[in-house]
């Protein structure tokens, strides 16, 4: 099958859905004439014109608020926030205006909006935060985090068609990753985690850009005769708890890996949802988390690797869990 990079797959999803549904439009900084800092909106302006591909002032709060308003009257806005650190500006509009509109209108109005943003990793203090956990804590929002080009396209199409607000986290790793992408329009559902590989000794749960790490760790450990089941969550909300529970019932061991800070990360939610599940009695080892240990991601290359979880960290955690029986 034809291969695309992640940013191209996302761009194709936008273009196809804009062609398919006149209600869809794109708004954000540098998205129109420039085609997006990471080329995710490349050529959309040429194809769909300035009424549907809009370069905006720098105003993240108003951008999201305007997305909510347009969605309420029947449009399907796709709002770009250039990177996750900036979503801090738009929290009120996301948490109060977007997430609660269906509820306060008791279903008579809803907000079919997508907020696309970029969990950067390896940037610097203000361009490397991974804040997906915050949004999982807010009823009314869905939280999606694709790993590869195929899912990126299918999940973005699902997100745009979704009747509720979706926070859609992309990554630089995704933009650069090449992979097979069907050329037609297709959707990938949020609520089915991807069991990337099956295994029997331990379960690793990952999402976004830590999925390739999990696979590499699994490769390494397979060589040592340890069989790892790798689960990639496509969405954190809805969270495919069932798949994780079933896996842990089988393996008895769980390690969760994410790029975000460990304390208060969604990894804690995954752990907690297993600690209160049928899998509890099957647990043979403490549940481990591998994540940012609680530091801002610093500029110096000599330092930033210590802020982010590595394959080595993950392998060490899996070995630790295997030391119990």
């Amino acid at each position: 099958m034809r291969e695309l990079r992640g940013n191209q797959a996302l761009c194709e999803a936008l273009a196809q859905e804009m062609a398919n549904d006149p209600r869809v439009f794109v708004i954000g900084e540098d998205v129109a004439a420039h085609g997006g800092v990471y080329r995710v909106t490349e050529n959309l302006l040429e194809q769909f014109g300035p009424d549907r591909v809009i370069d905006s002032p720098i105003c993240e709060s108003a951008l999201v608020g305007a997305g909510v308003g347009a969605a309420l009257v029947g449009m399907r806005p796709v709002v770009e926030i250039q990177f996750t650190d900036l979503i801090t500006i738009a929290m009120d509009q996301i948490v109060n205006s977007a997430a609660k509109a269906r509820y306060v209108h008791d279903g008579a109005m809803h907000v079919p909006m997508v907020v696309r943003t970029l969990n950067l990793g390896k940037g610097s203090v203000y361009a490397s935060q991974a804040l997906e956990a915050w949004f999982t804590h807010v009823p009314g929002l869905k939280v999606v985090m694709p790993t590869d080009p195929h899912d990126a396209k299918g999940l973005l199409l699902s997100a745009i068609r979704d009747p509720d607000p979706v926070i859609f986290f992309e990554s630089k790793a995704l933009y650069a990753m090449r992979g097979p992408v069907p050329s037609e329009s297709y959707t990938v559902p949020f609520d089915k985690a991807n069991v990337c590989r099956e295994g029997s000794d331990a379960t690793v749960v990952s999402w976004g850009s830590t999925v390739p790490m999990a696979e590499e760790a699994a490769d390494r450990l397979t060589a040592e005769g340890v069989s790892i089941e790798v689960i990639a969550l496509r969405a954190l909300v809805p969270f495919d708890r069932q798949t994780v529970v079933e896996s842990v019932c089988k393996t008895g061991r769980l390690v969760v890996v994410h790029e975000a800070v460990r304390r208060g990360g969604f990894g804690a939610e995954v752990v907690a949802s297993i600690a209160d599940s049928d899998a509890f009695e099957h647990l043979r080892a403490p549940i481990m988390r591998v994540a940012n240990p609680g530091v801002p991601v610093p500029h110096s290359a000599a330092l930033h690797k210590f802020a982010l979880p590595s394959v080595d960290d993950l392998v060490a955690a899996i070995r630790r869990t295997m030391s119990y029986d």
Partner: protein, 332 residues
Amino acid sequence: MLDQPAKSLTDCDRVEMCRLMVLSRCFTKQALTWHAEGRVPQGLHPSVGQEAVGVGACYGLRAGDWVLPSLRTSEAFWTRGVTIRQQLHAMCGTAESISGGKETSHHSGYPELGILAGTGIVGGSIPVATGVAMGLRMQGTDHVMVCFFGDGAANRGDFHEALNLAAVLKAPAIFVCENNLYAQTVPASVAMTITDIDDRAAGYGMVGQIVDGQDVEAVHDATQTAVARARCGEGPTLLECKTYRFMPHYPVFDEDRPQEERDRWLARDPIQILANRLQLSGLLDEAAIDQMAQAVRDELDSAIAQVEAAAMPDPEQVFTNIYAIKSERMTS
């Protein structure tokens, strides 16, 4: 540049606007009494003294237009046709409330009447209004959005971002600032060094206008001029309506405002101003106004009886309409 005069008001319109203001005031006063007595669980942010703004700005809007009231603009609800009973249901959180008990009266939306629910975050509705207007324009309609907020909200970042965005998008929005000189207990003179919020319009290249917020006809005319401009693609307007809140911000607040200031504004009661005019024109006498008030009180009495007898929402309702599909997966 369009110079189409605002649709002029008939005598009937003027009497009707008077009735709406009377309705709003009577409702507010009665509902506050019932709240104080414990009969109505929700308090109100009383708009007494400010009735001309919401009535004047909403009167004459069309089906398909939208309004976004502030937590104080109860007149937007009356003028667009919400009933006394509906708002009492909302206040009491009954099963028949428009939101199924989920929201208070001031944060309720009535989509069929073109009313969106605002959030409790002061200023947070302004970007949403910009987006609604942008959406209406994208859809090729000539509908408009009228958004209400206070002087306090005009100091929020969202005001700035949203007005600028509306200006560049030529969004058909009318931003109605109800400058009642206070944000809760903080005087506008403490919260900004300017007197006229209108001074900010120029910073967005936006048409701005100061309006006598106690004169419902002036508010109506200014709004309609702005609406006409918006309908034909000439973009948004900032209308600053100078007004005054005759009562405290909310029942629990004890406020200490200068007597001279109060007296000056109490002398400019918007209902009285219009009523005087209508009396001079021979359209209305005092008895007619009393009758209007009496009609509201009668409706209130019958409505409260119905509302008090109404069922409360089923507990299950707490879990509905969070997402399109109610799903275990979403709430756990």
